[in-house]
């Protein structure tokens, strides 16, 4: 699936988007896999309360399932308006 990062999450990880091959069942499982990769991921995902997630371009929770999902995005709380 495609994993996208925005705002400071993108800056901390260093890429806006990447292709991830994963068998993770939920967003939380995917986060665990990413954290284990490299320190920059561990740093970006250190505090999940500071992060929001969208699954296939809809806001979701960290326990959302990933079956059939094409795109997951991680970002800080939004500051529109």
């Amino acid at each position: 699936m495609d994993v996208l990062y925005f705002a400071w999450v993108r800056e901390r990880i260093g890429v806006p988007k990447e292709r991830v091959e994963t068998g993770a069942a939920t967003v939380a499982d995917l986060v665990e896999e990413l954290r284990a990769r490299e320190p920059r991921y561990a740093a970006a995902f250190a505090d999940l309360s500071a992060l929001r997630v969208a699954v296939d371009q809809e806001l979701a929770d960290f326990d959302a399932g990933l079956a059939g999902v094409r795109e997951v995005a991680f970002f800080p709380p939004m500051t529109g308006g």
């Binding site: 996208l4 925005f6 705002a7 400071w8 969208a54 371009q57 809809e58 806001l59 795109e71 995005a73 970002f75 800080p76 709380p77 939004m78 500051t79 529109g80 308006g81």
Partner: protein, 147 residues
Amino acid sequence: MQVRVQQEAFDLGVEAAGFAAAQSDMGAVVTFTGIVRDGAEGGMVAMEIEHYPGMTQKALEEIAAQAVRRWDLGDALVIHRYGRLGRDEMIMMVATAARHRRAAFEAAEFLMDYLKSRAPFWKKEIAADGAEWVAAKDEDEDALSRW
């Protein structure tokens, strides 16, 4: 209902007048405009607005559709810019049309509250000596609970 996500500036007068003129039997039109202000205590030179292209349009349309249904609006307009904006530039606007003013005001406030924390935009303040992401405020999240 119209939602536009764009980099270029918009003309508030033209948009507001066009929106109002297109209504019929609507007794009230409310517009709100958000403008770049210096949140960096005098040092801000610009604001950079990032968004999530695949999601933004859809998220805004859902928020606007909710407002139209809930307040039985004649119409709603949302324009939100992204990219680099200078101080005092207009960031976004909403317009609502309803038969009575209370619905038009409330729907505009609802749109603003939801745009703040449910539309995928992120603001970064650029100062001469560095840049900083604008943090979401608890009060913005709390504002949703009144709806």
